[in-house]
């Protein structure tokens, strides 16, 4: 394993120290492993919390700041945070208007946030609502299973509901908005290589040089199927087709994110985005906003994921609203 780390068991603690040193605009609670804005938002505004396993940076800590999250709870690498972390953050950020928990749909994340919600309500009486993102079309949905994974749409959702909270919308409105975003966005991912979990010390799966994984999540798990390595033009089809097949996105303006998995350089993402843009255009999806870069990663995995959100004027307005985080910044 080749990584810029010290003790593999200390990666999270060490990374939090670096985040604190790199971002004076953030406050890091090392004991509870929570990243806060140094300047809390005003009283009376809804607070937004997210969190999950580490290894997806900039998600979630990189999205804490004005216009987006109030706090991010950092779990161990690929392991959801614990309820006590979430309770601590929830009570700390509440400004009297309640707290929204943004949770990616994974059994562990859901159960830990669930326990946290119960505890927080009991201990402190803070009103907590939860939205669970589940946008990964690689996984077929079903009531008998854990359902779809929450992946790239989480980034877009955190930006949009963060803007709504910042402009003073109340908790019910923010929850309804979150649900609307959730219903209107889909994602699909592929991997060219596995990632290596520091504590494991070797790649999670072996992938021959001429093969790739289609339908991967963000935890280095294998995808739905393995296919021969393909050129970017075909990989773009593997991403665009299932997304459009699952949800009609030809109607309104679309917000598109082509996300890198962590080990893929920007020049490759641009090559792939050129192909994706061509396909979306051919399919009649009117792309209004775009992000190309590393936003929700899977450690050092080489690969990419596509997220398309069917928006409207209201969502575009909230998307364009000022945001000032290390991961997304504009209008400030």
């Amino acid at each position: 394993m080749k990584k810029l780390i010290n003790d593999p068991a200390a990666v999270l603690a060490d990374a939090l120290r670096g985040i604190e040193a790199a971002h004076p605009e953030l406050r890091v609670d090392h004991q509870h492993r929570v990243i806060y804005r140094a300047e809390p938002k005003q009283d009376g505004k809804v607070a937004i919390i997210s969190g999950g396993g580490s290894g997806h940076e900039p998600l979630h800590g990189g999205f804490v700041g004005p216009g987006m999250l109030d706090a991010a709870c950092a779990g161990e690498v690929f392991t959801s945070p614990t309820p006590d972390q979430v309770v601590e953050a929830t009570t700390a950020v509440d400004r009297g208007a309640g707290v929204l928990h943004i949770v990616k749909n994974y059994t562990g994340d859901v159960m830990n946030f669930e326990m946290a919600g119960e505890l927080a309500a009991a201990d402190s009486g803070v009103r907590v609502e939860t939205v669970v993102t589940a946008d990964d079309v690689a996984v077929q949905d079903s009531t008998y299973t854990a359902g779809r994974r929450g992946v790239g749409l989480t980034v877009l959702l955190e930006k949009i509901v963060g803007a709504a909270a910042e402009e003073g919308q109340d908790l019910d409105a923010v929850v309804a908005l979150a649900q609307r975003v959730n219903d209107s966005g889909r994602s699909m991912g592929i991997a060219l290589t596995s990632c290596t979990v520091p504590a494991a010390g070797r790649p999670t799966f072996d992938l021959p040089d001429d093969q790739m994984e289609v339908g991967v999540g963000i935890h280095g798990e294998p995808g739905r199927r393995r296919v021969p390595l393909a050129p970017a033009s075909e990989i773009a089809e593997m991403l665009v087709e299932p997304v459009l097949a699952d949800h009609d996105l030809t109607g309104g303006p679309a917000i598109v994110m082509l996300n890198g998995m962590g080990g893929t350089p920007l020049i490759e993402l641009y090559v792939l985005y050129g192909e994706v843009a061509r396909l979306l255009d051919a399919a009649g999806v009117p792309v209004a906003r775009r992000l190309v870069g590393n936003y929700i990663t899977s450690l050092d995995m080489a690969g990419a994921s596509l997220t398309v959100l069917g928006a409207d004027d209201d969502l575009l307005r909230l998307w364009d609203a000022p945001v000032d985080t290390s991961g997304l910044r504009w209008g400030v």
Partner: protein, 211 residues
């Protein structure tokens, strides 16, 4: 031959579980690499170390032991296994009450309460390819053994064997819960990591109670 699980015995059980998780942590992570995210071993190593650290000074009732163990797992593990094993011990402790030892029947009630907790927390059914596929058969077997007059050690040994069978039975299953479910049929042909750690938990109990 001991026919109860004493408070010290219960603590020794947790120590034996910790040792097993340390010894086989890489194996658990390997299983989790195949159909999950390669952290089940490190999650339980972290959790059981935290538990043993939290048990000194030792609690003075089985109820307190269960609560301490459960809360420590819940607050130190995270992921799916943290709330699940945490709930197991929280419910088990609550069912035990303020006693300092459990006879064969009482242990059965306690184990059953813990496993029911995992079930209600995880909503897993038999055949979903989870730890419940090891734990469910284990408690059923334990109760049957006690009903048939076996002593606590024999019943625990039978429960551990049933857990191991349940663990092995997860291999051909297609996962419907947890991360493995994302792989669909690609999850077939791999043992579920949680069913393997759950088997270690019951084997540790059997070893602790062995005459």
């Amino acid at each position: 031959m001991a026919d109860t699980l004493t408070l010290e015995g219960a603590i020794a059980w947790l120590g034996a579980f910790r040792d097993a998780v340390h010894e086989h942590g890489d194996h658990l992570t390997e299983l989790d690499s195949a159909i999950g995210d390669a952290d089940h071993g490190s999650n339980l190593v972290r959790g059981t170390d935290a538990v043993m650290a939290a048990l000194d000074p030792p609690p003075d009732t089985v109820a307190a032991l269960g609560k301490k163990t459960g809360m420590t797992l819940v607050t130190s593990v995270g992921g799916a296994s943290g709330p699940l094993y945490g709930t197991f011990f929280l419910r088990a402790g609550a069912a035990a009450g303020d006693v300092t030892e459990l006879d064969a029947a009482a242990l059965g009630t306690v184990l059953r309460a813990g496993v029911d907790g995992i079930r209600s927390r995880g909503k897993a059914e038999l055949g979903d390819k989870t730890m419940y596929d090891a734990l469910g058969p284990a408690v059923d077997t334990y109760d049957a053994a006690v009903a048939a007059g076996d002593d606590i050690a024999t019943a625990a040994r039978a429960a551990a064997a049933a857990a191991a069978e349940g663990r092995d039975a997860t291999e051909p299953m297609e996962a419907r819960k947890g991360r493995a479910s994302y792989l669909g049929e690609r999850s077939v042909g791999h043992v579920d990591p949680g069913s393997a750690s759950a088997t270690m938990l019951l084997e540790a109990l059997a070893r602790t109670l062995a005459p």
